[in-house]
């Protein structure tokens, strides 16, 4: 027996509500993040990730309230990403009950942020989130994008991962823009490449469509798998995904 592979549902939250439809039966309120997080935890989610897609700084206060309310009821780790620009933002999120924070574009603009958070709160708090696509402009053939994949930078994704780990990132959340939304399976080539440069855990994201897609992501080197729409639509349950991986000989928490 050893460390279990983690299955992580991701919920987009704006103004205190879950956005992007979640279709579960018997939900009192389909947009309530606390109810949904509890539901996923009861189904066996190993962690919960909230992506704060709030547009304005003012409405971030509601995100802190959501985090607090969730942490009062859900006793699995909670990661919050989106809009984190400073160690003060991190201090408030951790104070509200978050365990980890996801940093993305702010770290690209100012890589020192990764080290600042790690120095103050520990590397285990910093999840570096990368939205990656293919490009022949970088040595590895993988490039970092921003704005949900719409803006392609000139940053080599593997170089950035290496640098962020050196600066103190404790985990990589690797989202494949090429696979995202296809439901054709995870981007195994990207996962393998990231594993080869990463000494920290790698979370694979983007492309999950069927239960049999998850085991190959683990074989390619992922320590955890994250998905959103397939879980929210009810197309797959956390339990289905875990059973499928277990059938392939992968250790999961039952």
């Amino acid at each position: 027996m050893s460390l279990a592979v983690r299955v992580i549902p991701c919920l987009d939250v704006a103004d205190g509500r879950v956005v992007k439809g979640v279709n579960f039966q018997n939900l009192a309120d389909a947009g309530d993040p606390v109810e949904l997080a509890s539901r996923y935890a009861a189904q066996g989610a190993d962690e919960i990730t909230f992506l704060d897609v709030t547009a304005t700084v003012e409405s971030r206060d509601t995100t802190y309230e959501v985090v607090t309310a969730t942490a009062e009821q859900v006793f699995v780790p909670l990661t919050v990403g989106g809009g984190i620009r400073s160690t003060e933002d991190v201090a408030r999120l951790l104070g509200s009950g978050a365990d980890k924070v996801g940093v993305n574009s702010a770290a690209i603009r100012r890589p020192e942020l990764v080290g600042e958070i790690a120095d103050r709160f520990g590397a285990q708090v910093v999840v570096l989130s990368l939205d990656v696509t293919r490009a022949d402009t970088t040595p590895s053939g993988f490039v970092v994008t921003t704005h949900g994949g719409r803006t392609v930078t000139r940053i080599d994704a593997l170089e950035w991962a290496r640098e962020a780990i050196e600066r103190g990132a404790g985990e990589l959340l690797v989202n494949s823009i090429d696979a995202d939304g296809t439901k054709d399976g995870f981007d195994l080539e990207l996962i393998t490449a990231m594993r080869s440069v990463s000494s920290v855990p790698v979370i694979a994201s983007g492309g999950a469509g069927r239960t049999e897609h998850f085991a190959p992501a683990i074989s390619a080197g992922a320590d955890a798998v994250l998905a959103a729409s397939v879980f929210h639509s009810g197309q797959l349950s956390i339990g289905d995904v875990k059973s499928a991986m277990q059938a392939e000989g992968i250790g999961v928490r039952s």
Binding site: M1, D46, V76, G95, S199
Partner: protein, 212 residues
């Protein structure tokens, strides 16, 4: 005000996320106060010492809150203390992180060092090998607990002679074997986070509360 609920203080000395520890202890059946007040911390039925971040940084905050004194006094009087994560690590003599050596509280002999594993931090749900007769793991079988750390104590050198009860040592493995939990008289500690370990974690906290 239910009289039978044990009173637990979660030591508030500026260490990371303590919110969950408070809520999980409440769920497990305690009346919980989050405070740095020494009198409250000394008088409570149980004291929880949380710990998130680097060993040296945790020791520094703990020392400025005079947390070490509180722990010493409680243990001298046989009053229960539970350390979690780095709150467990600081119970040992010293910790070495990124080449920096720092003194711990020295309740147990030994040094906390980096795990020898291909992927660090050790992050996620792992199995444990509880000691037979453990109170903490009583009734908990084949459950996983949530770990997030890169350092741990991997040696136990304290010998306890009869008539004092032998400590219960619980081990886990990530790259190498390390101590996942220790129950040594009034001092209990877990390297994993029971407050983040779902139902199994609540059960474990409830076992600790039952021993107060």
């Amino acid at each position: 005000m239910s009289g039978s609920r044990p009173r637990v203080v979660v030591l508030d000395y500026g260490s990371g996320n303590v919110h969950s520890a408070v809520k999980a202890l409440e769920r497990a059946g305690a009346d919980v106060e989050l405070t740095a007040d020494r009198k409250a911390a000394l008088e409570a039925d149980g004291l929880l010492v949380p710990g998130v971040g680097a060993f040296a940084a945790v020791m520094e905050s703990l020392t400025s809150a005079r947390g070490g004194e509180v722990v010493d006094k409680r243990l001298a009087g046989g009053r229960p203390v539970l350390g979690i994560c780095v709150g467990m690590q600081v119970m040992f003599d010293r910790g070495v992180e990124r080449g920096l050596e720092a003194d711990g509280l020295g309740e147990w002999p030994g040094t906390v060092t980096q795990l020898d594993a291909p992927v660090l931090p050790h992050m996620g749900w792992n199995t444990v090998e509880p000691d037979a007769g453990s109170t903490l793991f009583d009734g908990i079988e084949d459950e996983r607990f949530y770990f997030v750390h890169s350092y741990a104590a991997s040696d136990w050198t304290l010998t306890v002679d009869p008539p004092f009860p032998q400590p219960h040592l619980t081990w886990a493995t990530h790259g190498q074997r390390f101590l996942a939990a220790v129950e040594n008289g009034p001092l209990t500690a877990t390297q994993f986070h029971p407050e983040k370990s779902g139902d199994a974690g609540i059960r474990l906290l409830s076992n600790w509360l039952g021993s107060l």
